[in-house]
């Protein structure tokens, strides 16, 4: 079992390396992290927080958009591509279970994501610490951001596999993946904000809104990191408005979403005919 998962992970890593996905993911994370840490380095003194904590707060807002995007880009082809190339029937005649195929792909893609995250966050942190040695106080926040980013990435990898299995064509899967990204990461928040404004502090704002934030993996990720950080003053509107949500609730959401998404991926993959 382990050998088959590892074999699949190795071949997927080879494919991702050849297709330049590794390079693209690392470059995206490094460039955006550096830009943000440079832009966010001015207002530290006013907040009374160390430089790295502020960088982490900026990186959190960045990662909410970028990590799901990178994860979806890596995963949309995973099953639809096999169906379209005609490689799936042969693979399924091998003594390998479908969940083992998924686990192998996941392992490779998570590993690539970790490399990209460490490169991106690491370079931002390095610059912060070089400029201000007191910034090491923010290393805890950086560590929290890193592992939650991996979980967020795994969630969107799972969603990407499910999208890929559902559409069965790589082009359709790509479109659907972009739609999912727009919906969950961008439009979801806009919709909630609009509803909160319209509701003006009524039932929706007090009851539905916190639950809706926890239900979305990207919002739960942002909530958890910002409520844990002391720099929550830098929080965006959504997180600021939901400051009352206990941290354990957002932690639960962040931890359980990867399992939900991967279960969804496994279920949809089972429905794909060879």
């Amino acid at each position: 079992m382990i050998a088959r998962i590892l074999a699949t992970a190795r071949i997927e890593a080879n494919i991702a390396r050849r297709n330049r996905w590794v390079l693209i993911a690392v470059l995206l994370m490094v460039v955006f992290s550096l830009v943000l840490s440079a832009a966010g380095s001015a207002p530290t003194g006013a907040l009374g927080a160390d430089r790295l904590s502020v960088v982490v707060a900026s990186l959190t807002s960045l990662s909410v958009y970028l990590v799901p995007l990178v994860a979806l880009l890596m995963s949309f082809d995973a099953i639809a591509g096999e169906v379209e190339r005609g490689t799936l029937p042969l693979l399924l005649t091998y003594p390998v279970a479908r969940w083992e195929v998924l686990a192998g792909k996941l392992l490779a893609h998570v590993a690539i994501l970790i490399v990209a995250l460490v490169a991106g966050y690491g370079s931002a942190a390095l610059i912060a610490i070089l400029n201000d040695t007191e910034a090491v106080a923010g290393l805890g926040a950086l560590w929290r951001l890193t592992w939650t980013s991996v979980l967020l990435g795994a969630t969107f990898l799972g969603i990407g596999y499910a999208v890929s299995a559902l559409s069965r064509r790589a082009s359709g899967a790509a479109g659907l993946a972009i739609g999912v990204w727009l919906g969950l990461v961008v439009l979801y928040d806009l919709g909630l904000l609009a509803a909160v404004v319209a509701d003006d502090g009524g039932f929706f704002t007090t009851q539905v809104f916190p639950a809706a934030l926890l239900a979305n993996p990207a919002d739960a990720f942002r909530l958890f990191n910002l409520s844990a950080a002391e720099a929550s003053a830098a929080a965006s509107g959504v997180a600021g408005a939901a400051g009352a949500i206990p941290q354990w609730q957002s932690l639960c959401s962040v931890v359980s979403w990867p399992f939900l998404a991967l279960a969804l991926a496994a279920l949809t993959f089972r429905k794909v005919d060879a």
């Binding site: 074999a7 190795r10 029937p89 042969l90 005649t93 091998y94 060879a274």
Partner: protein, 298 residues
Amino acid sequence: MTSTLTISRLTKRFGGVHALTDVSLTVAPGERVALLGHNGAGKSTLMKIILGLISPDGGEISVCGATPGDAEARERVAYLPENAAFHYALTGLEQITFYMRLRGVDPKGARDLLGRVGLGDAATRRIGTYSKGMRQRVGLAQALIGHPRLLVLDEPTSGLDPVSRRDFYELLDGLAAEGAAILLSSHALTEVEARTDRLLILSGGRMVAGGSLSDLRSEAALPVALHVTAINGYASELMEAFPNAIQTKEGLHLTCAQDDKLATLARISEMRGKVADLEVIPPSLEDIYSHFSRRDGQ
């Protein structure tokens, strides 16, 4: 000897279309069986059911004593799909190494295996740069991994040149000698007849004929054609003797049933002085194949 593959009364429908109706067959260890039929005759459907990729609507099937698609069955069955496809970004060596690992075979032998199918020099090139014939060889190489008990080969020689085809059938002979059962599909009877032990003809989802070539030949009972060339001037006399014959520019063309062949020849030899030459043309392989595959109103 117990059969490696046993199928009885298999039925499969896709919506209202009867893809397979009442198909029964067995393949014994060491036996090479060719499955013939037109496009759409049900060859690929039958193969996918044997591999466990789709499930039948009725009938029974046993692969190496297991149900198709079971882990046990998949460990013992190898498959070569029609137009074998692989990821273009991988090298042949990487692809074969992967398949060996999935089968729990030491991937050290990957290069040797590629050498066996004539891809030794191209092993470290990307599959995207391979020709169709080379991709087909990668497909063949993966089907040889781990001594399978049953090989299911869908149009294995498509895209191969004549020399590669001969090499391919030599590989099959070796596998069959080691006790592997082989089921391969083809359009062309001429190609498989000399290299397989038994032929099965599928038409419109039904098994319309099965057996060795001589079995099929006698079952079809197709007429024998005789071509008689007359000595100058005697053509009309010959025509009188054989009123059913058709006169052509070169001579007379007549047909007779297998059983009448010797009697007809005797009659021709009686007219020895008027006949310049005689040619006996038995029904061709393609004639026999067409006879069976058309019988079901295709």
